[in-house]
């Protein structure tokens, strides 16, 4: 029993170290977006949860794009930051009623991988994508999937480490995405409820050649 405990502790210790190294390692091909402003004027307390204007992002150009209602059902965007504090991310997919791209040609899908960003090197098969139950990347209620925990003690969104999202984009390319923070400056720990937000911090890699290779190191 004691040996087992030691082994488990060692195992935890090693996996920790390994994960931390891989997560933090920068690379030269990923795109890092820092402090992209969400709807910083909206507030849950006054306007409510539906009052945050959606921010759209195109992975190919690496830029936020303005999308009118008429443009929603097009492939001009890949990610939509929706909901409270722009923290719920939809991938452009035309086949789901609550996706902003509903009714359009978007082929998007997302899968959650319990691995650090740099350890995700290949996109899963389309069969795997079609089995996904993740309709968007948002609040993790327990075991459903998502990129942050929400603490009711201090009303702060806490990003989940070592979790990566593999994406099939609106046009069918493959990408990987790590959502880092909605707080300005991407601070390692936030304790102040009034820390400026939402400012979207994330990094991603999109495979331009259409293959499934997502190796970035």
């Amino acid at each position: 029993m004691r040996i087992l405990t030691v082994a488990v502790l060692l195992g935890l210790c090693c996996s920790c170290t390994k994960n931390n190294n891989a997560t933090d390692a920068p690379d030269v091909v990923s795109v890092v977006i820092k402090d992209l402003p969400g709807d910083t004027a909206a507030r849950m307390g006054t306007g409510g949860s539906m009052s945050f204007k959606t921010v759209y992002f195109n992975l190919d150009s690496g830029k936020a794009v303005t999308i009118t209602d008429a443009d929603k059902a097009t492939t001009k965007w890949d990610l939509a930051f929706t909901g409270p504090y722009n923290s719920e991310v939809y991938v452009n997919y035309g086949g789901y009623q609550y996706n902003p791209g509903y009714g359009g040609p978007g082929k998007g899908a997302v899968l959650q991988i319990e691995k650090p960003y740099q350890e995700v090197t290949t996109a899963p098969s389309d069969a795997d994508f079609s089995k996904t139950t993740l309709t968007k990347i948002g609040w993790e209620s327990g075991s459903n999937g998502g990129w942050f925990f929400y603490s009711m003690d201090n009303h702060i969104a806490v990003p989940i480490k070592n979790r990566t999202f593999v994406i099939r984009t609106a046009t069918g390319k493959y990408a990987k995405l790590e959502l880092l923070n909605v707080y300005k400056g991407n601070p390692p720990v936030v304790t102040d409820l009034y820390w400026p937000s939402p400012y979207l911090n994330f990094r991603y890699f999109i495979q331009a050649d259409g293959s499934r290779s997502l190796r970035t190191q």
């Binding site: 409510g48 949860s49 539906m50 909901g83 409270p84 719920e88 789901y96 009623q97 609550y98 089995k131 139950t133 993740l134 309709t135 968007k136 948002g138 609040w139 209620s141 327990g142 075991s143 459903n144 999937g145 998502g146 929400y150 603490s151 009711m152 003690d153």
Partner: protein, 242 residues
């Protein structure tokens, strides 16, 4: 009646003590699993107000102690039965409102037990769900099925719409905010039970004694789950009410 000999008397006493003893010392070990009565299958069963009050001072997003229900026995199961086949669905997480099946895998509340269950939700009316879903499609975690994307904090397809602002289903007034609207049509939960039988479930309400949506108010006692279900035996291809 014959008089008992003194020996017999002592024997009885010691047996009684022994029984009491073993009961006390093995309180956490469930009794042998009862068989599932044939009469449980293929009929519509209604459960009203399954649940218990949340801990005093609970905040909305606090994780809650899970509660367990055996569809096959049609009764709640205590938490001490966690690692047995004596429950089929669990409710945990926020407001205990997220459902899961009973499975032995790590991460399930039944981890390490014998459960081979799972859960999923279909965007279909209860009556229209007749074909039993393929085994591979069941999800084996806990706390999987809850808020629907049609409301706030949606987690994919769910059995209730959370109206944070009271503006989706209500008039935005104080009493219409933070209501959990169970989606009574167009959603059916399908469960593979701990022992491998199947059930389809129609969720009705998470408010106590309130099946009518008119009575779903902010201060109505919750979460108390009301639902209807039909069991089908392992190996069945369809849900039938006979």
């Amino acid at each position: 009646m014959k008089k008992l000999s003194i020996q017999t008397f002592y024997l009885f006493i010691s047996l009684a003590l022994l029984t009491a003893c073993s009961k006390n010392s093995t309180e956490d070990v469930p009794e042998p699993e009862p068989p599932v009565a044939d009469t449980m299958f293929n009929r519509l069963i209604t459960v009203l107000n399954f649940g218990e009050a949340l801990a005093e001072g609970s905040q909305p997003l606090d994780p809650q102690l899970p509660i367990y229900y055996s569809l096959e026995q049609n009764q709640p199961a205590p938490a001490t039965y966690k690692q047995t086949n004596r429950w089929d669905i669990s409710f945990n997480g926020t407001y205990r409102s997220f459902m899961g099946g009973n499975n032995s895998i790590t991460g399930n509340l039944g981890a390490g037990g014998p459960g081979k269950g799972g859960i999923l939700i279909l965007a279909k009316n209860f009556e229209e769900v007749t074909t039993i879903t393929a085994d591979a499609d069941f999800r084996t975690g806990s706390g999987l099925i809850g808020t629907d994307d049609s409301g706030a904090f949606g987690q994919g397809l769910g059995y209730y719409l959370y109206d944070f602002d009271g503006t989706i289903k209500g008039d935005g007034s104080y009493n219409s905010q933070h209501i959990a609207w169970v989606i009574q049509s167009g959603r059916t939960v399908v469960v593979r039970t701990a022992r491998g039988n199947y059930a389809k479930i129609k969720m009705l309400s998470i408010y106590k004694d309130a099946l009518n949506p008119k009575d779903w108010k902010r201060d109505a006692p919750h979460p108390y789950f009301s639902f209807q279900y039909v069991l089908a035996k392992a190996g069945s291809k369809t849900f039938d009410i006979k």
